[in-house]
């Protein structure tokens, strides 16, 4: 058996084939059309943001810095500002997060560490289902089921911790024989509870995902060294998941800032920049928009859009910071696999 080697053909000049990544034929059509789709979506989504900024500009120019320092919203008197609604937005979001954060953290820990393994996927589905419950349902729940109890809790808090500025309620005596319960209802505290239940599943899902990424080798090492389960969680799971905890919380915060319908249902609107969360009344940016858009003239609409723009910017900053934090933790840096 002889092997014949191919004889190189030297008659023509052979140069390597040119490799091009440029698409041809149907591929070019595909790439170009899908690029058009992407550009359309860019125009739509980016257009919303640019439109908001463009509409907000005249208002911001007209009112200047007073747009951020004025509390009242009286367009007919040409006085308006978002200090009160901005304070209210932050208050509701803070109340919501101070309830949602511990519950989300322990739920995520329970699902990833304590729950029996046959229950785990059911529990994950339940948390996801909780995220899918519409916000109006949480509004009804907060208004009819929680608010009576929450106002009683508010009376108790005012009675015992009234010296804390947060828990003070003006024009109401918690020690009176018959407490005026209406001063303690329809408050930012009640609205915050409903909002908390909306943001809890989202924070919980992010935390659980990061916890479940903890390297099992390090967890088993901690247990092998004699750590209890809690010791293992404190030494391994929580430090590893720190980015997820912070990021998930901030994502929830971003959602809580923009929540409308539960706040609109529960909170009785008032224009006063206050931090007394237990007291009746308050307002948020989104509730202001929902309440005032109907009878708004062109300039008022611009003012509402400016308020919406400010809210969007705040949410955007919070979400971006959250994404950066979670992304950084996601790589699992600082652990050897």
């Amino acid at each position: 058996m002889a092997t014949t080697l191919p004889v190189p053909d030297t008659s023509t000049d052979v140069s390597p084939r040119r490799i091009s990544r440029k698409s041809t034929g149907a591929d070019a059509v595909f790439v170009q059309s899908i690029r058009v789709v992407g550009a359309t979506v860019l125009v739509i989504t980016g257009g919303v943001g640019i439109f908001l900024g463009w509409q907000a500009w005249p208002t911001l120019q007209h009112y200047g810095i007073s747009f951020f320092t004025e509390t009242t919203w009286q367009p007919e008197a040409d006085i308006l500002g978002i200090r009160a609604v901005l304070t209210g937005t932050i208050c509701v979001a803070l109340v919501a997060m101070s309830i949602a954060f511990p519950l989300a953290l322990v739920t995520a820990l329970y699902i990833s560490e304590y729950a029996p393994s046959f229950l785990r996927s059911t529990l994950v589905s339940m948390v996801d289902l909780m995220a899918a419950v519409p916000s109006i349902i949480w509004g009804l729940w907060g208004y009819f089921l929680i608010m009576p109890h929450a106002s009683e809790l508010a009376v108790w808090l005012d009675r015992n911790f009234g010296w804390v500025p947060f828990f003070d309620v003006e024009n109401a005596d918690p020690n009176a024989p018959v407490v005026d319960i209406s001063r303690y209802s329809f408050s930012m505290f009640c609205a915050g509870i409903a909002v908390a239940m909306m943001v809890l599943p989202m924070s919980c899902a992010v935390m659980r995902q990061v916890f479940s990424q903890t390297p099992p080798g390090e967890k088993e090492a901690a247990l092998a060294l004699g750590a209890t389960k809690w010791g293992m969680i404190r030494a391994v799971v929580l430090p590893f998941g720190r980015g997820g905890i912070i990021g998930g919380t901030m994502l929830g915060l971003g959602r809580a800032l923009g929540e409308t319908i539960a706040v609109l249902l529960i909170l009785s609107p008032s224009f006063e920049a206050k931090w007394r969360v237990l007291e009746i009344g308050g307002n948020t940016v989104s509730a202001l928009i929902a309440g005032r858009f109907g009878d708004a003239s062109k300039s008022q609409l611009s003012a509402l859009l400016a308020a919406g723009f400010v809210l969007f910017i705040i949410t955007l900053i919070v979400n971006t910071v959250a994404a950066v934090i979670v992304n950084r933790s996601r790589s699992g840096a600082g652990t050897d696999a």
Binding site: V41, G46, P134, I136, V206, Q213
Partner: protein
């Protein structure tokens, strides 16, 4: 073990060897390493029963704390205390901390579960009476006042309106959203990065601002009336970034090897996308879309600004006001009449049922095909479906995207299942 060399070393850092009690009973062998022993289980259950009794004593006999909430709080606090005491009987401070932490975590998770169950049960119970009448599902509310009995009127017009609005919104956003996701993950390049940045930024857009945008542009500036179409556009503006981003997340975890294999076999990029990438990601894409729809159908604020509130059937989305389920709930509950509120709760039950059906469909589509039959080997196939697509890490509900960007997670989420 008896010959312990005693030295006069300084006390700091001294090692004490344990002393053995020769008379002690032989240790009971544990049946398994992970599970608590009979003793531990008895201590745990006993502690909570003791705490229940203590809580009753405190709230009913000693302190003026009435009502179920105080009783539950007292039970929880007493439970922690008794657990700490029983733990300190068998171990040191470390054990006490472990037991208390376990109790806190378990009770916290139970609170969250109770909240979810209470919300669902509460809405169903409050809306039970209207739900018992068949006309609630087939009639509209035209000519029905807020005080009228439940055998008149229904929410069929709101259900129809919701379906039409969300249908239009989906017809617009689904091709655009999935197309953008394909563009971002399959074509790439500098422009795709710009698109991805903007889309991710716009997921932060509060839904009320999306509604206000459509209201300003479509209704005030262009002069169209409030209509189902406007509401559909508002929902679409809200849903578009959500669906685009969730689909992008799903497409990014399609293994690169599949794409390369297809291209290496000579398929064009278009064929690769159509015959390899999209079918592989189909369950994930379906989940992303259905969850986006569930979000869109339940969102009230964009609809509140754009659709208006009609009490009768409207089938033409461009023809004036049109009702939808969330808006119906909001407007009827605002009227304050007890019958109206009951109707709102019944409509809430219908809305929850719709969302639940969508949700279960999404879960069934996304469920890993073989995971139930064979217990997956620990490191390799945790939660992957038959295409090797890990849907747990690519869960579109978690808006953070895949946990590992290359789709090849070193530690799949289920890999800790066997840890004690």
């Amino acid at each position: 073990m008896t010959a312990v060399p005693q030295t006069d070393a300084p006390a700091v850092g001294q090692t004490h060897l344990p002393t053995y009690d020769a008379d002690a009973a032989p240790p009971v062998p544990r049946s398994s390493l992970g599970k608590p022993t009979l003793d531990e289980r008895f201590a745990l259950i006993g502690s909570w029963v003791a705490a229940l009794a203590l809580a009753w004593l405190i709230t009913q006999r000693l302190l003026p704390l009435e009502g179920l909430p105080w009783f539950l709080i007292a039970w929880f606090v007493c439970g922690l205390a008794v657990n700490a005491v029983t733990a300190s009987m068998s171990g040191g401070m470390v054990e006490v901390r472990d037991r208390v932490a376990a109790s806190v975590v378990t009770v916290g998770a139970m609170i969250v579960g109770a909240v979810l169950v209470s919300a669902v049960v509460f809405v169903v119970v409050r809306g039970w009476r209207p739900l018992m009448h068949l006309n609630f599902f087939v009639d509209d509310m035209s000519g029905v006042g807020p005080k009228d009995p439940f055998d008149e009127g229904g929410v069929a017009h709101a259900v129809l309106g919701s379906l039409i609005q969300v249908g239009i919104a989906v017809a617009i956003t689904l091709p655009l959203g999935v197309g953008t996701a394909v563009f971002m993950s399959e074509v790439g390049g500098r422009f795709a990065r710009v698109v991805r940045t903007v889309v991710e930024a716009m997921t932060a857009l509060p839904s009320i601002v999306a509604g206000l945008f459509i209201y300003t542009v479509f209704i005030v500036a262009l002069g169209y009336p409030r209509s189902g179409l406007a509401a559909a556009l508002a929902i679409g503006v809200m849903m578009l970034p959500i669906i685009a981003r969730a689909s992008d997340v799903v497409l990014r975890v399609v293994p690169g090897g599949l794409r390369e294999a297809s291209l290496a076999l000579g398929a064009s990029r278009w064929k690769t996308v159509w015959y390899v990438v999209l079918p592989t990601a189909r369950p994930g894409l379906a989940t992303a879309c259905i969850l986006g729809i569930a979000r869109g159908i339940g969102e009230t604020s964009p609809v509140l600004l754009t659709s208006g509130n009609a009490p009768f059937f409207v089938t033409n989305p461009t023809d004036g006001v049109m009702n939808s389920l969330p808006l119906f709930i909001y407007s009827t509950v605002r009227s304050g009449e007890p019958n109206s509120i009951a109707r709102a709760f019944a409509a809430g039950t219908v809305l929850m049922a719709v969302v639940l059906v969508l949700f279960i469909t999404a879960r069934l589509i996304a469920r890993p095909k073989k995971a139930k039959k064979v217990r997956p080997s620990r490191r390799l196939t945790g939660g992957t479906n038959r295409f090797g697509l890990n849907l747990r890490t690519a869960d579109p509900l978690v808006e953070m995207g895949p946990v590992s960007s290359d789709g090849d997670t070193p530690y799949p989420p289920d890999s800790t299942e066997g840890a004690p």
